[in-house]
């Protein structure tokens, strides 16, 4: 039986392997005299094409965890495997290049460039990510805007858009280079409840397109909508559901 299980395990298909594997990740900050533990020995897997939530109250380390998943931050210990690649081994420049192709990031405060129109913000992402051939950029950008229902606002500046509209554009930008994973840090944190639901619906629909969407939230209602989730408290995993675990 053990050998069958071993054979079965080795015969797992790519779709069954986790998109992201977090192994014993810890994060400490501060001086030697004053160390603060942000994350303590966190391990979990994120499945493919899954709506995955990292839930926890303020100060639980969830944003830090998200930053480590995307290579924006580096753990003090442990590692993150993204489609089998170990992020910690990459240089800053290589990480940037990797991010352009593999991760689309949706920020809490949108982070749209204020002097560029909605369309130009997406074209910028295409220019920096270089995952799509140049001749397809414009078409791709309009496609992404259409996907989030913002194709009629292509020529508007961010200052001319509502919060919800800006966040949609931000999602469109995150999709521009067709990354397998989207991460969103409190994507609805600055939005009213009605708009938040709309945005969430957009994010959720992306999994139907094969995208893995990882989002951070402190809202239990939003956390409950995830197919898989982990709950963090004081830097430790205190709950998991629907996750593969390699432990």
């Amino acid at each position: 039986m053990a050998s069958a299980r071993l054979i079965t395990a080795s015969l797992k298909t790519e779709s069954e392997l986790p998109q992201i594997r977090v192994e014993n990740v810890s994060k400490e900050i501060g001086s030697k005299a004053n160390r603060t533990l942000i994350l303590a020995d966190v391990s979990f897997d994120i499945p493919r094409a899954c709506l995955f939530a990292i839930n926890g109250p303020s100060g639980s380390g969830k944003s830090t965890m998200l930053n480590i998943l995307t290579g924006i931050d580096r753990p003090t210990a442990g590692r993150v495997l993204f489609d089998g690649e170990i992020l910690q081994k990459m240089s800053e420049n290589r990480l940037a290049k990797w991010r352009g192709k593999h991760v689309g990031i949706v920020f809490q405060f949108f982070q749209l460039l204020p002097t560029l129109t909605a369309l130009e913000n997406i074209l910028l992402a295409l220019e920096l990510g270089r995952a799509i051939p140049r001749r397809q950029w414009r078409e791709r950008a309009l496609e992404c805007l259409a996907l989030v229902g913002m194709d009629h606002y292509a020529r508007r500046l961010p200052s001319e858009l509502s919060g919800g509209q800006q966040q949609r554009v931000a999602i469109a930008r995150a999709l521009a280079n067709d990354p397998p994973v989207l991460v969103a840090d409190e994507p609805t944190g600055n939005l009213d409840s009605k708009t938040a639901i709309q945005i969430f619906d957009v994010l959720g629909s992306l999994t139907d397109r094969g995208k893995t969407v990882v989002y951070v939230t402190h809202d239990p209602v939003l956390a409950a909508r995830a197919a898989s989730r982990i709950d963090l408290l004081d830097g430790r995993v205190v709950g998991k559901s629907g996750v593969f675990s390699h432990e």
Binding site: I72, N93, K97, F109, L116, E127
Partner: protein, 748 residues
């Protein structure tokens, strides 16, 4: 157009004030460089051209009236290229109640003028009893063609008709040199002034280096032909070239400072821009942007600033430079001609205008894009990095001030790099301004110090020597004349350059002795000389040494008995003063004893007012004119003013450049403060939310600006005094050595 490129143009348009200030700063720097290059090139090439066209003489020989055919004899001598025989007299031109000096040259053949060539610009060449004036004479009086001028002939004034105006390229305006020039047919000249023959031989040499030997040789020829040699003047007049080189040299130096400030201004702008766009940099990195691409993006923005500023600066600078060259040329009767575009100058301006901003901006851009995504994205909102730097003493020192003022003062030190750049810009601007003001003050101080040594009230000069006793006879009875002394001064040549051989009476009371070494003359001294401190510093000579010099055809070797402070012979290439008793000089030059060309007068009252001196001058002039003399009468004040006017143009130019530098400094400060306001809008919002009215908010920034200004002033003083000293040294090499003098009021 790519999104990154569009972002560049949108960033330019988004912050219009910053864009305008930055481009303006670069424009001003490149404008000054271009203007100075164009003006320098245009002026100097025109001057060189005019020197060739004009064909100036290498020497003049003055004789008693003689047959002009002697010119052929002189021309046959070795090393003589061209000889032109002329009449030559300095007389006076009556203008209103005043008289101005007028030098009239009698021309034998107007169609074959080979030396000091001029061209007719208005009217016609003179006929009988007519004169043609240099255009520069119009700075005295705007006489029309066909008008009349009144000139002194003997004891009377006679009218001659102005037939036209000519222009000799490179000849300064009358007001600048203190005399006008005119030309008559030699026959009319001799008839008017009752002379029989020419008195001046203008000579060009084959080998200029052999000029003194040639002069000796020609003197011998004159002697053989029984012609009396009255005097000679050897050497080319290149004062305009020297002054032009000096002006442009100094302006070049200051234009470098202007460009340096423009670059510092740009550094501050880019540093502010990067700081403002930290989040955007983080976002671009999060989107996959590589550091190199982001660096190229911001350098592209810098390139746009630089290109705009450079193109405007080159165009405006070229036009300004041409206007400047025209202005300077008008002072010396130069025809600048059309604008000459010199390709290498344009390339130089383009290279400097584009290259230096890019090179300078690379550092803040490289450093600024080093930031990680996490650091960049955490940087939004209020600055939450409370600095633990700054001493408690420092904090408590300002603790008594209102909170808004304290806030403003502390803000100065919040961004050390930006503060440093702003201080540097203001300090350099202030230091440059101080340096130029000090250079000007030093010259004026020097000119005043000259007349601390020469303590006469009126100086009289004649074109030919007269017995000193005659002066005493004529001037003694004149009301207000106290004491009279004879005086001598002429240019001698030494191995260190030209020196002013100066003769005074042994018992002089008008030459104030300021000996720094040695002793004054005694009656038993022979071949003794006192040299000025400048002469001693340049030559290295000291008391006990000997000095050789040549004046005309005479050479002497005198021993130095003293060194004195005497600044009357300033000028680039001048050695200084060689002071000796008049009888000793007369013996050297074989001048009969008792004759003099110059006389100094002291008023009979002490500390006479200007009005008193004006009256005295008129009475002296009338007395000498009535006696048939044509005196040149000046006062120390007039001589100071004339020297000042020569250098006025230089200092005007330097002031313009200093103002340009100050402008860039002001732009830099405005830019820095504007950036501060723009970056801290959230802070302003918080202040307002706490109830701060506009005045209170503004107080924060006023305090910041004032603190910055005070710190910059302190830095400028520390930088400015050595810079002023440095400029003084440069000025000494390019123009004239001027002892350093500092006016504390310039600090204000």
């Amino acid at each position: 157009m790519s999104a990154m490129t569009k972002k560049i143009f949108k960033d330019i348009v988004h912050r219009k004030l910053r864009t305008i200030l930055t481009i303006l700063g670069i424009t001003v720097g490149i404008l000054s460089l271009s203007a100075i290059n164009v003006a320098s090139n245009q002026f100097k090439s025109s001057l060189a051209y005019s020197t060739n066209i004009t064909s100036a003489p290498d020497m003049h020989i003055y004789t008693a009236p003689t047959n002009p055919d002697l010119a052929d004899v002189l021309q046959d001598q070795p090393n003589v290229k061209t000889v032109q025989a002329e009449g030559n007299i300095v007389t006076r031109w009556a203008i209103g109640q005043d008289h101005k000096l007028l030098q009239i040259v009698g021309i034998l053949d107007f169609q074959h003028v080979q030396i000091n060539r001029f061209r007719l610009v208005e009217g016609s060449l003179p006929g009988p009893n007519q004169i043609v004036l240099e255009t520069g004479a119009r700075s005295y009086e705007n006489v029309p063609v066909g008008g009349h001028i009144s000139i002194q002939v003997g004891r009377a004034f006679k009218e001659v008709t102005v037939s036209g105006f000519v222009q000799t390229q490179g000849l300064p305006q009358a007001a600048l040199v203190g005399r006008a020039y005119g030309y008559m047919a030699e026959s009319s000249f001799e008839q008017l002034f009752n002379t029989a023959g020419v008195t001046d031989f203008a000579i060009q040499l084959v080998d200029y280096a052999q000029r003194y030997q040639t002069l000796d040789q020609l003197a011998t020829v004159l002697q053989e032909n029984h012609v009396s040699l009255v005097g000679s003047s050897v050497g080319r007049d290149d004062s305009i070239t020297v002054i032009a080189n000096g002006i442009f040299g100094l302006m070049d130096l200051l234009s470098v400072a202007a460009i340096a400030l423009s670059v510092i201004l740009l550094l501050g702008t880019i540093a502010s821009l990067i700081a403002e766009q930290v989040e955007i940099i983080g976002t671009m990195k999060a989107l996959g942007g590589l550091r190199g691409k982001i660096v190229r993006h911001y350098l592209g923005l810098v390139f746009c600033y630089a290109l705009s500023g450079t193109l405007i600066g080159v165009v405006v600078g070229t036009i300004s430079g041409y206007a400047l060259a025209n202005y300077l040329a008008s002072l010396v009767s130069l025809d600048i001609g059309p604008l000459q575009i010199v390709p290498w100058q344009i390339l130089e301006s383009l290279a400097v205008g584009l290259g230096t901003p890019l090179l300078a901006a690379f550092i803040p851009v490289w450093i600024g894009t080093r930031i990680t995504v996490r650091q960049a994205l955490q940087g939004y909102g209020l600055e939450n990095t409370a600095s633990r730097k700054g001493s408690r003493k420092g904090r408590s020192a300002i603790g008594l001030l209102p909170q808004t003022i304290q806030f403003g003062v502390r803000n100065v030190f919040r961004k050390p790099t930006r503060t440093f750049l702003a201080l540097l810009t203001l300090a350099v601007a202030g230091a440059s301004f101080l340096a130029v003001q000090t250079a000007n003050y030093s010259l004026n101080a020097l000119l005043n110090r000259v007349y601390d040594v020469y303590r006469y009230n009126v100086m009289i000069s004649l074109s030919t020597p007269e017995p000193f006793s005659r002066f005493q006879q004529i001037l003694g009875p004149v009301d207000g004349v106290g004491s009279i002394e004879s005086f001598y001064q002429d240019t001698a040549s030494t191995r260190w350059g030209q020196a002013a051989l100066t003769g005074v009476q042994l018992d002089t009371r008008m030459y104030h002795r300021e000996l720094t070494a040695g002793r004054w003359f005694t009656a038993s001294d022979q071949n003794a000389v006192i040299i000025s401190q400048d002469a001693a510093d340049i030559s290295g000579l000291k008391v006990g040494d000997t000095i050789s010099f040549t004046l005309g055809t005479s050479t002497a070797r005198w021993h130095i008995i003293g060194i004195t402070r005497d600044y009357s012979d300033i000028g680039a290439g001048n050695l200084g003063i060689l002071l000796a008793p008049i009888p000793q000089i007369d013996a050297m030059l074989h001048i009969p004893a008792g004759l003099t060309q110059n006389v100094m007068i002291q008023a009979s009252v002490s500390a006479p007012s200007q009005a008193y001196l004006d009256g005295l001058t008129r009475r002296v002039d009338a007395a000498l004119s009535n006696a048939g003399f044509i005196p040149q009468i000046t006062t120390p004040q007039e001589q100071i003013a004339q020297n000042q006017s020569k250098y006025e143009i230089i200092y005007l130019m330097l002031d313009v450049v200093a103002i340009i530098i100050a402008l860039v400094g002001a732009i830099s400060l405005a830019n820095s403060l504007a950036m501060n306001v723009l970056e801290r809008r959230r802070e302003i919002g918080i202040l307002r939310s706490m109830g701060a009215i506009s005045r209170k908010v503004a107080q924060v920034f006023w305090a910041e600006g004032t603190t910055l200004g005070v710190l910059a002033w302190i830095c400028a003083v520390f930088l400015g005094i050595p810079a002023a000293y440095g400029l003084n040294i440069v000025q000494a090499h390019l123009l004239a050595p001027v002892p350093f003098a500092f006016d504390e009021l310039d600090l204000v």
